[in-house]
Symmetry: C2
Subunit: 186 residues, 2 copies
């Protein structure tokens, strides 16, 4: 970013407005709706402006997903059980309240067939998993930590994408208890 | 099915060939490719025949996914650890060898926006989870069994759909050990 970009409020506004509209279209209408022309029209900018900032559609899609960057995570307390449980709760809430279910389903589907989308997915997923990856080393390392991460995140992903609903609080409690006691007894 | 349907080998062949082609198109080219016209052309049948057997596109999609019904599962041994591990292995193998990754990603994505597809997904997922649901009661019931199921299936779903690869054997081993010891120590 050049200094002039950094201070021009129009650029800042464009860089905020356009990806916000792109994400809304993606969630409400699906992938095909996120074209530069449609996003420009909905956001109230010219197509030329959208193309100037996002020459490739993939750039626009990546910045749309980056809107989730400000999504609330659980605030770590230092208590591993509580932190894992809190992070699962945030993940479930984002699925429902911020339609992360739709965003992830679309991203997973497109990444299968479009090699340009796989890095967008990988980065998005890495950002989402970071808090849990920071908590788990208190309990385990190596393949055990990886298994715990995949199981805890996976139970939410699988439940939402494959069953159409987030796990209940009771099931989330049971999962954290199983993982913590399973790692502790080894 | 009427007795005449049951014995007419042409009907049996059609009911096999058309969904097989539909699944191949779904995996290779995606959802949009699975139209009655395209499937008829690829399978070497008339469009009228396809419409006669599958009046709705959803019917054709459901029968395409039903092709996975014959997918090999692990043969239960009665040893819970081995059976959970074997079932995870079968799940991972289907993801890679039978492109279940693409099928699941597409199903998850479409079920989000098309209410007719949600029951197709639900039935497909229930069929896939059945062997693990039959093994888990040896270890736990209620929310603990549900948490274990979602974590074990979810680690594969999450890894494949969100990381683009199946978990390693070492990570699968660690997951089964965590769940079995976590449930046992409670």
């Amino acid at each position: 970013m050049t200094p002039s970009d950094a201070v021009d409020p129009r650029v800042i506004r464009t860089r905020h407005d356009v990806p916000t509209v792109a994400l809304r279209l993606l969630i409400d209408e699906g992938w095909e709706a996120v074209t530069p022309a449609r996003v420009a029209a909905e956001a109230g900018y010219s197509r030329a402006t959208v193309y100037a900032h996002w020459p490739e559609r993939t750039d626009l899609i990546r910045d749309a997903f980056a809107q989730y960057g400000g999504m609330p995570h659980h605030t770590p307390s230092g208590d591993t059980d509580l932190d894992l449980r809190g992070e699962l709760e945030s993940f479930c809430r984002a699925m429902v309240e911020h339609r992360l279910d739709r965003a992830l389903a679309t991203l997973a589907e497109r990444a299968q067939t479009n090699p340009e989308i796989a890095p967008v997915r990988d980065r998005f997923v890495a950002d989402g998993e970071r808090p849990m990856r920071q908590t788990l080393p208190a309990l385990a390392r190596g393949p055990e930590a990886e298994a715990a991460l995949l199981m805890l995140c996976g139970m939410v992903t699988h439940s939402v994408l494959m069953h159409g609903r987030a796990p209940t609080g009771e099931v989330l409690d049971a999962a954290v208890a199983i993982v913590v006691s399973g790692l502790g007894s080894r």
